[in-house]
């Protein structure tokens, strides 16, 4: 996003400065200094100098590059712009050698070098070592999404509108009209408002807009957006609960009760089973009394779905019944899910509402 801005700027400068090289490194790709160095050399097109010489040791490489950069001075060699994406990952390199050297060169009378780091972390400066920090120019630009809702709507419109050079002109016209119409629609505005409240990130807007546009359904409607928004905001775990069997639901309810009784302390299978037994014996009319292994199987299914998480790694010695577990669902989530669960036995629902209802 912000990279594009930088690149545009560079294109312009390129015309003026004739030769301006810019090695582009990403912290996700160049995971250590060694790889980064190689990449720089490659991007600076120094290999022709290196020839077919097999790249030697890391040390040799570093010396080589430093030598290369040291040769130049302000007047003769062309400036280099280093762009380091995911800058925070470079910080974790050993000794921050690369950063130190780049900054050092930029601060001394060698080849003119500009280093631009891109990161989402605000506290990047604290991660720099003191001597590296001292060499850093402390020039920071913070990009914030500081627009309000009106601008947001505008962005929405711009993103959707087709550009003038779109080949099919009549369609473009139709589409753009539709977009204009959409942006004034009340429901659409609601949806957008909601999203805007959640995040100002434009990427999520894009995600929302990438919805079902097919040949048969060429124009976006407000309903489409609403649907997309709904999909966007559904709770994934609650969705999983919808697909569970009654027995599994019962187990989850038992866990929920345990959580309430013991205030979030971890539980094991035996406790859950006991709770379940209590429910079956005293209250349940519609439920069949399952065998313990069957319940165990259901419990393990929940474990696989990661609705339940063990506190420690399961070891061979510990019996599975007594492994301590935690429920990864909130009680409100469970209740919500139960509301929409089809064909839920009423006694189970009652039991869910109150663990003491059988008294």
């Amino acid at each position: 996003l912000l990279n594009h801005v930088l690149k545009d700027l560079r294109e312009m400068e390129q015309v003026r400065e004739n030769l301006l090289e810019n090695p582009f490194l990403s912290g996700l790709l160049q995971t250590n200094d060694k790889v980064a160095l190689k990449e720089i050399t490659r991007q600076l097109q120094l290999e022709n100098v290196v020839g077919d010489k097999v790249f030697g040791s890391f040390a040799e490489n570093l010396a080589f590059l430093l030598e290369a950069l040291r040769k130049g001075d302000r007047t003769s060699s062309c400036p280099i712009l280093f762009v380091l994406d995911e800058f925070d990952l470079f910080v974790h390199h050993k000794n921050q050698t690369l950063l130190y050297n780049l900054f050092d060169i930029s601060q001394s009378a060698q080849t003119p070098v500009t280093v631009i780091g891109l990161t989402c972390r605000q506290d990047i400066l604290e991660l720099l070592e003191k001597r590296v920090k001292s060499r850093f120019s402390h020039r920071q630009i913070y990009l914030m999404n500081s627009f309000d809702f009106k601008q947001y709507i505008k962005i929405f419109k711009e993103q959707l509108s087709l550009p003038a050079e779109f080949p099919d002109e009549s369609f473009a016209q139709k589409w753009n009209n539709n977009v204009q119409h959409l942006s004034e629609d009340k429901t659409v505005q609601d949806v957008l408002q909601n999203l805007f409240h959640h995040t100002k990130d434009l990427r999520s807007l894009h995600l929302l807009l990438v919805s079902a546009v097919t040949v048969h359904h060429p124009l976006l409607t407000a309903a489409d957006l609403q649907e997309a928004s709904r999909q966007h905001s559904t709770d994934s775990k609650a969705n999983i609960v919808h697909g569970l069997s009654v027995l599994e639901i019962c187990l989850i309810i038992a866990m929920k009760h345990l959580n309430e009784v013991y205030d979030g302390e971890p539980f094991n299978f035996q406790m859950v089973y006991n709770e379940f037994q209590k429910f079956i014996q005293r209250k349940a009319h519609s439920m069949y009394n399952f065998e313990k292994p069957v319940v165990m199987k259901a419990f393990e299914h929940l474990l696989q779905l990661e609705l339940v998480q063990p506190l420690e790694r399961p070891s061979a010695r510990a019996q599975r019944e007594f492994l301590l577990m935690k429920l990864l669902l909130d009680s409100s989530q469970i209740m919500d899910a139960l509301q929409v669960y089809p064909n839920c036995p009423t006694d189970v629902k009652q039991w869910a509402a109150s663990s003491l209802s059988w008294l």
């Binding site: 290196v50 010489k53 130049g72």
Partner: protein
């Protein structure tokens, strides 16, 4: 060739002291005898000889002329030498003064003062040839013993090159001539007067057995004498010497190689084999017995004996050289009548009276085609094939340096001569014995060159092509457009404020400067070693000051106020591994590139042995703390070297922490570092102000108050000069931007404040204010949870409950857990929150990365 590495050598005086000073208990000697225990050889080196002396670099021993030998009071054998310096020893920048290509074998008559000419006699390796040449003169063609012969054309006095004065020229020449004599005597293993009667007897027996040997001998000796430009009156003595020697040598060979002598029966095949086996020595040895058996009636037969003896003896320079000559002789002798040849050679001798020894090589070889028609078939064909191959190989190669090309062309010439010769081989000598012998000898020489060329060229020629790029300094492409000249006052100011701009002087560091300067200067003058530890927070001018000191010292050294020194700098940050420090230091000092462990060994040797010609080395170790290893051997070594007696090493170690020696160093390292410490205090605001204004001298760009504000701000924070300069630079930029609207040509308070704000303000508050509504609510929920629990840490589940409640208050639709998690991870990415790994889902713990008050403040503004 360096036998010293293989065998233990003992050094003993040769002869009696010719003069001695009783008071000083110094006795002077004429020569020194080097005995190798393992190979049982002795070499005698006398005054005036040219010798190789062990140096820093094992491959590149120093060249010197022996001027005096004496034993001092402590029974140490000492030698006084006149140095010659190789091209490698001359500073890179001075080499340009030569304005010509320097072949590897050329040395310079060293007139640099300050080198220690008094060395331990044990460092002498062996003798060599150094031949004086006039400036315009071509380098003589060398076919053999390239490593043993050096040439002098000019002298070097540390500043410029001069033509050799006629005085030195003649002196050198004289030495060469004299050395010829010594050669003969030294060749005799033991001086003739010590010769044992047994040997004489043996020799006479052998001589009687081989009738024509005597004549042969004489001729042979005449060759060598004429060539090596011996004085005529020495002839007889020489002959005697040769007589003495050859039989013994032969005798030995015969004894040593009975199997070899059988080889004659195998005839051609063996020869072919031997030919292939073209090591200079290998073919020679067997040749002697063969000859001996075969050509007792022949005139020739003598030539190979000298090589034989050489093979036995320690291959000293002269003898090896002599072998080369004899090989020439061999080539010539078989076909021409020996007497003719002698006459011819005499003629030559008379012709080139001045450049005798040099041209001596050339003449025979150039006349060779005339004199030596080859007669063998198979061998010749083989050679020609070989040669053709080589020529094609050579043609492909591009030789840049003169020496190479001349060398090549000469060998090529020779080879071509050989080629030409092959077709016109007159087979007028049908005697198989003769034919055998000639191929043998001529082959030897012929093979020799090819054998040498492929061997040499891969060494010098072929790798050069790939090496050129390696040595070529990598360069960033030149910029096409020139850098813009500063247009306005502000731009000018900005340029000057850049950290890289080197100020003429370093204000506010005069005291430290003086201290370091005095330290290094005193050590330099004393010629001792020492360490100094310099500490200080970043941006206090440590490195700059040290560099300034070095610059001043170098200036002083150039003005000859101080002894010259070498300056090496390593930076811990620029090393990938602490052990790489060795490699870099060694590369700076000698230009070698070796592995870290090897470099450590070499350096240890370098600093622990007394180097005669070594300058003091000033080593700057920047970012010392990064050289820390678990065993600390790098630091230990670094600080151990200066304490050694002969190291002449001064170390200036720079690091940030004041108590680094106490904190991370082991006791033994810290104690070696010594107590010479210096710490750079952070700049005070007055000093910063002075720095900025000194840089801005003459440019009216800043308000006085503005500078003061910046200085005070920075001094209060860190005292980092870099930071200060950066702020000023930024201020000029802001000013420039503002100027486009109005026109204030000067940086005012407002601009500076803006710049400072920009640099020091925390980004968090701003980030929170720009966060989305739900993100803000989430932060509020966190605050509420913290307040409830009283702990600055909460799980998402706990926060979620507060969150839902807050949403109800705000009248918003409460989000689902998934959305909460998304928000949480977003804030975590910005590091507003510190979050755990997300696989714990609801039980993920969350902490604020900034104080609660900041969050409150940021949220309340809304």
């Amino acid at each position: 060739m360096n036998t010293r590495q293989q065998s233990k050598l003992t050094y003993s005086w040769y002869g009696k002291p010719f003069s001695s000073d009783r008071k000083l208990r110094i006795s002077h000697y004429n020569g020194i005898l080097i005995t190798s225990e393992s190979s049982k050889t002795e070499t005698c080196i006398q005054l005036g000889d040219f010798i190789l002396v062990e140096g820093v670099n094992a491959d590149q021993p120093y060249v010197a002329q022996l001027m005096d030998l004496y034993e001092d009071g402590a029974q140490h054998k000492r030698a006084v030498v006149q140095w010659f310096c190789r091209l490698e020893e001359i500073p890179q920048n001075k080499r340009k003064l030569l304005k010509r290509e320097i072949p590897a074998q050329e040395v310079f008559f060293d007139q640099v003062l300050g080198y220690d000419t008094d060395i331990a006699a044990e460092t002498i390796i062996k003798t060599i040839m150094v031949l004086p040449l006039h400036l315009g003169e071509e380098l003589p063609i060398i076919t053999l013993n390239k490593e043993q012969t050096f040439y002098v054309r000019q002298s070097w006095d540390g500043k410029c090159f001069k033509v050799l004065s006629p005085d030195t020229f003649s002196k050198l020449k004289e030495a060469n001539k004299k050395r010829g004599v010594i050669t003969s005597s030294s060749k005799a293993f033991t001086p003739s007067d010590i010769l044992t009667p047994v040997k004489k007897e043996m020799e006479s027996v052998v001589r009687s057995a081989t009738k024509p040997k005597n004549a042969d001998m004489e001729i042979e000796s005449k060759h060598s004498t004429s060539k090596s430009s011996l004085a005529k009156e020495r002839h007889s003595q020489r002959v005697a010497n040769n007589d003495i020697k050859t039989p013994t040598a032969r005798k030995k060979l015969e004894l040593n190689s009975p199997t070899r002598s059988k080889a004659k029966l195998l005839g051609c095949e063996v020869l072919g084999l031997l030919d292939d086996d073209c090591d200079a020595m290998a073919p020679l040895e067997p040749s002697a017995p063969k000859r001996k058996v075969k050509f007792t009636g022949e005139i020739l037969g003598s030539p190979p004996k000298i090589p034989c003896s050489n093979a036995k003896s320690k291959p000293t320079c002269e003898t090896a050289e002599h072998r080369q000559r004899s090989s020439d002789t061999i080539r010539l002798s078989p076909y021409t009548k020996v007497k003719d040849f002698c006459e011819k050679d005499r003629n030559l001798d008379e012709e080139d009276d001045i450049l005798l020894s040099l041209v001596g090589y050339q003449k025979p070889s150039s006349q060779m085609p005339v004199l030596t028609p080859r007669s063998r078939r198979t061998c010749a064909q083989k050679t020609s094939a070989l040669i053709a191959e080589q020529i094609s190989m050579l043609d492909q190669e591009d030789f840049s340096s003169d020496s190479d090309s001349s060398y090549c062309s000469s060998s090529e010439e020779e080879e071509e001569d050989d080629d030409d010769d092959v077709p016109c081989t007159p087979e007028k000598k049908p005697k198989s014995s003769k034919i055998f012998s000639t191929p043998k000898s001529s082959r030897k020489s012929a093979v020799h060159t090819p054998a040498k060329t492929p061997k040499k060229t891969p060494l010098q020629g072929t790798p050069r092509t790939p090496r050129t790029p390696r040595n070529a300094t990598p360069e960033i492409p030149r910029r096409v457009q020139a850098a813009q000249e500063p247009a306005s006052v502000l731009e000018e100011a900005r340029l000057r404020l850049h950290v890289s701009a080197i100020p003429e002087s370093l204000p506010c560091r005069e005291e430290e400067f003086q201290d370091i300067y005095n330290f290094v200067e005193s050590k330099l003058i004393d010629g001792t070693g020492g360490c100094m530890y310099i500490s200080g927070v970043p941006g206090t001018g440590k490195t700059a000051t040290v560099h300034e000191v070095i610059r001043c010292l170098q200036q002083a050294a150039e003005n000859e106020e101080l002894p010259p020194f070498q300056f090496v700098e390593i930076n811990g940050m620029k090393l990938t591994d602490p052990h790489q420090a060795y490699v870099q230091i060694l590369e700076f000092l000698t230009g070698q590139k070796v592995t870290a462990t090897h470099a450590a060994v070499l350096l240890a040797k370098l600093f622990s042995t007394p180097g005669p010609k070594r300058k003091t080395t000033v080593l700057i170790v920047d970012e010392l703390d990064l050289l820390w290893t678990r065993k600390q051997n790098v630091m230990y070594n670094l600080f151990d070297w200066p304490t050694q007696k002969h190291s002449k090493l001064i170390i200036l170690a720079i690091a940030n922490t004041m108590d680094l020696p106490e904190r991370i160093m082991m006791n033994r390292v810290a104690s070696r570092l010594g107590l010479t410490r210096m710490s750079f205090q952070p700049y005070t605001y007055k000093q910063l102000q002075q720095i900025v204004s000194s840089r801005l001298k003459g440019v009216k760009a800043f308000e006085e108050d503005a500078v003061q504000l910046v200085s005070r701000k920075v001094a209060a924070l860190s005292g980092d000069a870099r930071r200060c300069l950066d702020i000023c630079r930024r201020a000029t930029e802001i000013c420039e931007l503002a100027r486009q609207k109005r026109a204030p040509e000067i940086v005012r308070m407002a601009h500076v404040t803006e710049a400072i704000d920009e640099m020091f303000s925390s980004p968090y508050v701003n980030a929170i204010r720009n966060a989305s509504l739900h993100e803000q609510i989430f932060l509020k929920a966190i605050l509420a949870e913290f307040r409830r629990a009283g702990v600055e840490e909460a799980t998402v589940q706990q926060i979620y409950h507060h969150y839902v409640a807050l949403c109800r208050v705000e009248g918003l639709q409460s989000p689902t857990v998934s959305e909460i998690m998304a928000i949480c991870s977003r804030l975590g990415a910005c590091r507003l929150l510190l979050v755990e790994a997300s696989n714990k889902y609801l039980h993920m713990r969350v902490r604020l990365n900034l104080s609660q008050d900041d969050v409150m403040y940021a949220l309340r503004e809304e």
